[in-house]
């Protein structure tokens, strides 16, 4: 089963002894800080986990594969993630 917000909120609820609603609000506030920071163009670095980076992509020419029509794709900003070496070793520890 996939890990979801609900499961994380439950852990926060139990470990910090908060009500269910407050735990969920705290988690949403935390996620909002992350989203705001990244949206402002600032990277987020979590030691031992990884780095969320904002990358600028330049405008480029593309083609609509369905109609074969050429078009210019505008410049855009995307989020990338780089896994930390420590986490990568942890994920691969049973295969080495």
């Amino acid at each position: 089963m996939a890990l979801t917000k609900t499961i994380i909120a439950e852990k926060i609820q139990n470990e910090l002894d908060l009500s269910r609603n407050v735990a969920y609000e705290v988690m949403e506030e935390f996620l909002e800080i992350i989203k705001e920071t990244i949206s402002s163009g600032e990277d987020i670095m979590i030691s031992g986990f990884g780095k969320f980076c904002v990358n600028e992509k330049k405008a480029r020419k593309g083609r609509n594969p369905a109609t074969d029509e050429e078009m210019t794709l505008p410049a855009r900003r995307v989020v990338t993630f780089k896994c930390s070496g420590k986490l990568r070793d942890l994920i691969n520890s049973d295969t080495q």
């Binding site: 996939a2 917000k5 994380i8 926060i12 935390f30 900003r77 990568r88």
Partner: protein
Amino acid sequence: MNKLELISTLKDRANLTKSEAADVVRIFFDSLSEAFVKGERVEIRGLCSFHIKEYKSYVGRNPKTGQKVEIPPKRLPFFKCGKELKERVDY
């Protein structure tokens, strides 16, 4: 922004003590790491999702020396940006 700045921002905005804010940040990233180790998918609506991608072994080269090296198979978390974040980060 690093982990400490994240903790102190959360402390102010969610009215938590510093140690509570540190706990929330730790619980969040530890939960993700644990899921990765188990090979589980992670889905944080609005932010991102992750799945573990298996990479096969291949022969690569040391870019400095040109020497051939055998790269062992590995697993890495594959990040996919969530819809809300994608729209907010773009111009």
